[in-house]
């Protein structure tokens, strides 16, 4: 039975939420970029055979069909096995990471997380670092200089930023003293988000002096983490692996049709998961701000039992936050130009790495000072 429930959760999350979200973030990407550039963007594809356009919301579906129907062409000069494997290796880790993300509190008593692991962040790092293989293999297997360069760039870029990504997370984990993402979210729901500790025990007037002082390292961690997520997902300004001005299309130059679509989707999936991770760690995940959760739960009478409508609200809240971040991702993409490669490496190794490292000590120092000796 738990398997069935897990299955339902997987299906619901992946096929009902993530994949449509991926598709529509592509649409959003195009619409938002159009808006930023004072254009119109895709607004035509609505309901087929009617004149109803629905702001072009049919576009992702049309795109998907197009990808499916295109000739699945494999160039003759590629290493077939890895060439076929690579797209899957990009898409799958992105989707796997969402297993540990709590996308809601509880619904009918069931925890709204597919796998409530106690080592959530570690799992995410473990899996996410696999996605580099997809890109490197794609670049190598394509047997083309552009792809190869893209792949090489990607591997070095991802490895570089994984370090700051990991290090920037350590302070957060220090603060919460917890590796279970669900618990982290609950904690934030009760005592204030990491970046907004203004209710419960986190509020300074309620004695949350430590949280107040920890805002500073938290913010640094947030910046480093968010930026590293950009780099990990290969999005502008860190999209050097594809970098069309130099490398045609980088690692996926030789790909077309559905295989290309998998890369495409993988990138957006990674972006969604990344957003989810940021939201979960820094902005309270599914929780409503200012102690509203506690208030609403108290209203129903049973503070331990979350009613189904509140569960839905939590899921909605989570998605809303994620969407805001996706929009942020898009916004940044259409604002900033691409980094030069040396700038990228400099930023990763000389600034973020040190910053994240120092941040750990600062956090630890503040924790020692405010919470007394390490318990």
């Amino acid at each position: 039975m738990p398997i069935l429930i897990s299955f339902i959760k997987i299906v619901m999350v992946i096929f009902v939420v993530i994949l449509p979200m991926v598709a529509y973030s592509v649409w959003a990407e195009r619409r938002v970029s159009a808006v930023i550039q004072e254009r119109v963007g895709p607004n035509r594809v609505g309901i087929p055979f009617t004149k109803i356009r629905l702001f072009g919301l049919g576009q992702p579906i049309a795109d998907g069909i197009k990808f499916l129907l295109k000739e699945d062409f494999t160039p003759g000069h590629v290493n077939k096995f890895y060439y076929w494997l690579a797209p899957a290796l990009t898409m799958v880790p992105a989707l796997l990471t969402c297993a540990v993300l709590p996308f809601g509190s509880e619904l009918f008593g069931e925890k709204m997380v597919i796998a409530d692991l106690n080592v959530g962040p570690l799992f995410i790092f473990a899996i996410a670092s696999l996605s580099v293989y997809g890109i490197v293999l794609a670049g190598w297997a394509s047997n083309s200089k552009y792809s190869f360069l893209g792949g090489v760039r990607s591997s070095s870029q991802m490895i570089s930023y994984e370090i700051s990504l990991g290090l920037s997370l350590v302070p957060v984990l220090l603060i919460f003293g917890e590796l279970n993402l669900s618990e982290i979210v609950w904690e934030q729901s009760k005592n204030g988000w990491l970046l907004l500790p203004f209710w419960g025990d986190g509020a300074i007037w309620n004695g949350g002096v430590d949280r107040f002082f920890l805002l500073f390292p938290a913010f640094i961690a947030f910046i480093v983490f968010t930026t590293s997520i950009f780099a990990e997902t290969n999005r502008l300004p860190f999209d050097l692996p594809e970098c069309e001005t130099e490398l045609v299309a980088g690692y996926h130059t030789e790909y077309s049709s559905m295989k290309f679509a998998l890369f495409f989707l993988g990138e957006y999936a990674a972006m969604i998961i990344g957003s989810g991770l940021i939201v979960t760690l820094f902005l309270g995940g599914w929780s409503l701000p200012f102690g509203l959760d506690a208030y609403l739960m108290n209203m129903t009478g049973d503070p331990e039992q979350i009613p189904w409508w509140l569960g839905l609200i939590h899921i909605g809240t989570f998605l809303a936050k994620v969407i805001v971040f996706i929009l942020f991702f898009i916004w940044v993409r259409w604002t900033l130009p691409r980094f030069r490669y040396d700038q990228l490496m400099r930023l990763g190794w000389i600034i973020f790495f040190e910053l994240a490292l120092v941040n750990i000590f600062i956090t630890a120092g503040i924790l020692i000072l405010t919470r007394g000796s390490a318990s």
Partner: protein
């Protein structure tokens, strides 16, 4: 010789990038807000809205052949356009105008005149080089077809697009 460009010295604040990034984000957001409030529109809804009426005089669309007001085909197939055409889109096979033709004194005309619109780059060199004012770049720009053959405009099609052009120098009609 390589020219070494000195990189500008950045102030501390600039080195931090953050303010610049914020400034950029503000600009893009500004644009987004402006369009969302329907203040400005730079694109048009293409197939429904067209800019045909706003095309400049010198717009370079599809090249086409023209006849003069007396119905004479102006092209005498000198093949200069074929020669000058950078993508070699033009193919001409000349022929002699038969003596019974009204314009037999012109002597030469194209038997076949083909412009491969897949190749054409709309550069307008053919129009510029034409000594007979016979080929003009018209304002047609949406040239499409289902086959490659369809995209090769033959003589008939070219005259269809070109139509009659009046007021040009008609040296053949009077002086010769």
């Amino acid at each position: 010789m390589a020219v070494i460009v000195e990189r500008p010295k950045l102030s501390i604040l600039e080195k931090f990038y953050f303010p610049a990034i914020m400034k950029g984000l503000r600009i893009t957001l500004g644009h987004a807000i402006r369009i969302l409030r329907r203040k400005k529109k730079v694109t048009m809804q293409y197939p429904e809205e067209k800019w045909d009426n706003n095309l400049p005089e010198h717009y370079r669309g599809a090249p086409a052949l023209v006849t003069d007001e007396h119905g004479r085909e102006r092209c005498v197939s000198c093949q200069l356009c074929e020669f000058i055409c950078p993508p070699r889109a033009i193919t001409i096979i000349p022929e002699e105008i038969p003596p019974e033709d009204q314009w037999s004194k012109v002597e030469k005309r194209p038997r076949e005149f083909e412009i491969d619109m897949i190749r054409c780059i709309y550069c307008g060199m053919c129009e510029e080089v034409c000594p007979e004012q016979a080929i003009f770049l018209r304002k047609d720009y949406a040239i499409s077809g289902y086959t490659r053959d369809e995209m090769v405009h033959n003589k008939k099609k070219l005259y269809e697009i070109g139509g009659v052009r009046e007021g040009l120098v008609n040296k053949w009609n009077t002086l010769k």
